[in-house]
């Protein structure tokens, strides 16, 4: 059974630690079910769930820290995020794609954003991230945000 992370449509910030803990309690209770088959499945699911969730929580921490730095850069207009499957390249099984929107090209601002991104990479190994800037050039946010990305608030 695979946890299909690409289908998660809600922002990570909705997954609080309390929620994760509560879900784990429910699964643990299920594991005490008398039927062996159910127990084995529950164990398997629990193991995948736990494994992925620890990566997701680490990703969330990295994104939160990145967003905090990005918010200090006045020219930015939004941070967007998506997950891409990459099972054979990283233990987490996914790459986090990040987009930062700015009004137009500005080398100084771009360097500040790349610098903040470098900090994320240094502190969040072995997670993989890929950052790209989007320049509005007079367009609206809705026009430039690719499908599948959600706004990180």
């Amino acid at each position: 059974m695979m946890l299909e992370i690409e289908r998660l449509s809600d922002p990570f910030q909705k997954f609080s630690r309390d929620l994760v803990a509560s879900n784990m309690q429910v699964i643990k209770k299920g594991m005490n079910h008398p039927f062996i088959v159910f127990t084995e499945r529950a164990k398997s699911f629990c193991s995948i769930w736990t494994e992925r969730f620890s990566w997701l929580m680490k990703t969330e921490e990295a994104l939160r820290s990145f967003k905090k730095r990005i918010d200090k850069i006045e020219e930015t207009r939004g941070v967007f995020h998506n997950l891409r499957e990459a099972r054979d390249r990283t233990s987490s099984g996914y790459i986090s794609d990040i987009l930062v929107v700015i009004p137009d090209s500005n080398r100084k601002v771009e360097y500040q954003i790349y610098d903040a991104f470098g900090e994320v990479l240094r502190t969040s190994r072995p997670l993989l991230f890929d950052l790209h800037l989007i320049k509005l050039k007079g367009r609206k946010l809705e026009e430039v945000t690719p499908k599948g990305f959600w706004r990180y608030e």
Partner: protein
Amino acid sequence: MNVKAHLQKAERNKEFLLGHLMKILDKCPDWATIVAFYSALHFVEAFLKKNHGLDFKGHEERHIFMSQHLREVFSAYYRLYDLGFESRYKSIKDAPSYDEAKSAVRHDLDDVEKFVMSRI
């Protein structure tokens, strides 16, 4: 590829960029950023091979290592990567402008090359 082969590729890309593309930059700023990125990539690959014996299978893995060991030029290199990406995969509206391409070649590529060549 070994160090010498990476440097040859980096130089060859740079020669094509400066000798041809920069002369018609107003017509092809997107192609200039692509070639500038691939020149920078091979400079960096030469550095990684020579000083760390490393080859990376993906950009993301290389970026993690660079964020720690090539911090001085991480932003310059990443800008070239990002502009090259825009040129290759995004719409014409998203493609780099003349000024972006010019600054990428004059500043970002130059910084990466100087950093690598002074340490190789």
